[in-house]
Symmetry: C2
Subunit: 479 residues, 2 copies
């Protein structure tokens, strides 16, 4: 029932059925052939030679609010204003509903920035470097630097040894980190686990870098045995390594210490650059007891984290921190980065730093710690309830990402805005995800599931390959 | 009086004196040696072998609002809330003042988005492709696609032949356009005039492309004679060309038709890709009578324009439009762009499209036309007044960027937030720049100037090299 690449046409209803997986979530889907969607929830991935069908050649214009030329008498009749107000009011209602039913993306939707409404009337732009003022006076560098200082302290880098800026999103942080790595080691090979965010592979392509995809364990962590083998094949070239502090799909934390050990024991001492992609967990880990530490006291080069994820922010943003010596290398060696044109973007959103400043100030380390603990508690609650109900489920230690059997019905997936990959789905338990919300999700899931599997007459799929035998509740692995 | 690279330290007062030029404005400064600032306003640039001194090695922490841990009793005393409210109130006051005194940057600060305040409570994210919905429901694609349709119509590209998205800023548009060009012609050489925005040269470096800087005429336009000579040196490789629809400094519009003619007459037919950087004028030109047209009926590949400039928006944003066939080439050929991961960023600000949608709907083509005409009228007014006063000044036809002799006093430059390069400064006349504002600027300038040049006893500098002899009012060129 999907449109083929050949004719490139599909009507609206068809599109809704075959909606592709969310882009933010989906590093692997892109690369490999896939079975058609009907069988995706139940069948294995292997064995189907049919390649994934993507509709190209044509934009799919789903519902869109067209812009119309004002009529000459609009000012008099007020019709235009009325039309726009009605569009916005309806839109606002849908946002309320969509915000309520949301479990799959690691966005903290629980924020109140009412006090900042007064600033929406200003065109705030932190163009260029946070530490070098431009003549454009309507900026928020004083907030931005406050936020950067906070993060540098969190990751243990001295004020005069760090450089950083507030980015537009996690991808910009990764693009920056990998670029810094490449400029430090122009001939370096990029290593990243297969479960890294897709922006890492995009960076490799953009920057024309050789990139080695390293295997992962079932947990989603980088497989250091394979990492070592890959390194040994490129002994003569320095290593640029992306380390995931929480993978997108399984919330797996790469073992930073093991990665460093592998590098140093195999002849790469002082010949590597590590970028830590901490999109979500970069801000949670420091508050988890017994978690291995992400810190610049270890030989890492940069850390990035998203601002709209754990902190919560009306628009995407992120924080990028690196060692100032790397930026200096760039600035002095590279024509285009001289005078510290060291950010990826030029004009930069000046509102985002104020949102972050506001939340960090209000909550403080202690506030975040409380929220992290709540998230982990609630994630365990969800996992336990799913397990009790005989549903395959995995929860990595240190993570609030609960991975489980993909719901069979796409409508259900869409309703709860779950993020799915292959046979698995996940819920990311964020501060706005309460026990109440989880209960109503669980109840609905169980109700639907008894239909999907005809109260046990049909067997749910085996997902041991994705989450490990010990977590799988299929007929074979159920104990 | 500037800190040296060696010790890397400068105190706050020193920093203020040597504040570097604004990054957005400054493609050339970066590359060439510069005299120290004391002489910059009056002396020529050549002849001084002293290289520009940039302070590296250390972040300059100017005033910053530090984030402090909340005290245990903050909830009770309300001290923290009070502190934050006072910071924000003071900040708001300064924004009002800074917004009032602003002439140098092409940002339309005249907008009222009060009706959209109700949406600030939502985390709106258009992650990935605008035409492929993700499962994340809190998005604004229906607004984004409406805006894109409007721009595609403006630049005459059919709905089913364009692809585009709303970017974070002009730089993202340029990064995207140049990347598309490179993927279409992987072996292509990038050509851009010296006065192109610095993001173009940043792209070349990021993407590891060979880049040829083409000379410019005094007006700031690309010199097609030199362009031709450059092409002839690289006959065997396709050409990727950045065409400026309004340069940053002089508001010069490259002659698109002449660029195309030069390419086609010199053996590059069907072997070139043109990206039009229309940051500001991309949206003004269509409304200027007799202006050469930027349109996809000509063999161009992409156009980008900033959203926070002529339209006006609280945060930076931009619009990028390209031919869908190019995106299809990317999507099918390039692993990391399959399934149309075709944007530079992943998560994307969902508020920006709503701001743009709101203004486009309210103003329409007719509204923009009126505003463009007003800007051009006011720009001519400013130019005439400066000329009358005996001040060297240039205004390109079709442009609202008035280029004139750089004010001698940096305090004055900062006060009016002028953008300067070498011996010249400019005012960009935007819709929020009224005759009243220009008058108060002119009066203040003339008052100061009579001090700087001691009522005519000291001669103002010659800037014929920058703006042409006919526009220069120095002792030599004054008629």
């Amino acid at each position: 029932m999907v449109g083929s690449v050949g004719n490139g046409l599909m009507d609206l209803r068809e599109k809704e059925k075959v909606e592709p997986l969310p882009r933010e979530f989906d590093p692997e889907e892109i690369a490999r052939p896939k079975p058609p969607l009907e069988t995706e929830g139940v069948g294995g991935e292997e064995g189907s030679g049919k390649s994934r069908e993507i509709v190209l050649g044509r934009n799919v214009h789903t519902m869109c609010f067209a812009i119309k030329e004002p009529e000459a008498d609009d000012e008099v009749t007020g019709e235009r204003e009325a039309y726009m107000a009605s569009v916005l009011a309806r839109y606002r209602r849908s946002l309320i509903d969509r915000t309520k039913h949301h479990l799959g993306y690691p966005y903290n939707l629980d924020f109140d920035y009412g006090a900042l409404g007064q600033l929406q009337h200003f065109s705030i732009n932190n163009l260029g470097d946070p530490f070098i003022e431009s003549n454009y006076g309507v900026h928020s560098r004083q907030f931005e630097v406050g936020v950067l200082d906070w993060f540098a302290r969190l990751w243990e880098l001295e004020k005069n040894e760090y450089w950083g800026y507030i980015t537009n999103c996690g991808t910009e942080g990764n693009l920056h980190g990998i670029l810094v790595g490449r400029e430090v080691f122009p001939d370096g090979v990029l290593y990243a686990s297969r479960e890294s965010h897709y922006s890492i592979f995009k960076a490799a392509r953009m920057y024309r870098m050789e990139c080695v995809k390293v295997d992962t364990l079932v947990s989603g962590e980088i497989d250091c045995t394979h990492f070592k083998a890959s390194l040994l094949q490129n002994m003569e070239r320095p290593a640029i390594v992306n380390v995931n502090i929480g993978t997108t799909v399984k919330g797996a934390v790469d073992d930073l210490d093991m990665v460093i050990k592998t590098l140093e024991e195999n002849g790469f001492k002082d010949r590597f650059y590590i970028h830590c992609d901490g999109a979500l967990f970069g801000l949670m880990m420091p508050f988890v007891k017994r978690a291995p530490k992400v810190t610049f006291t270890k030989p890492i080069g940069s850390v990035s984290v998203s601002g709209h994820k754990f902190v919560g922010c009306p628009m995407p943003c992120g924080v990028q921190i690196t060692r100032s010596k790397h930026i200096n290398v760039l600035s002095s060696n590279v024509e285009y980065l001289a005078s510290r044109d060291a950010t990826i973007m030029g004009s930069r959103n000046g509102h985002a730093p104020i949102f972050l400043w506001y939340t960090l100030n209000r909550k403080g380390y202690r506030g975040f710690q409380k929220e992290v603990q709540k998230c982990l508690r609630n994630a365990h609650y969800l996992k336990d309830r799913l397990k009790e109900a005989g549903i395959s489920v995995m929860l990595n230690e240190l993570s609030s990402t609960v991975v489980f059997e993909r719901p069979k019905d796409e409508e259900f997936v869409r309703q709860w805005q779950l993020a799915c990959e292959g046979n698995i789905a996940h819920v990311v338990v964020m501060p706005n995800v309460t026990i109440d919300k989880l209960d109503s999700f669980l109840n609905e899931l169980l109700r639907h599931r008894s239909c999907w599997y005809q109260e046990g007459n049909i067997s749910p799929p085996c997902i041991a390959a994705d989450i490990g035998e010990e977590n799988c509740c299929c007929a074979l692995h159920r104990r």
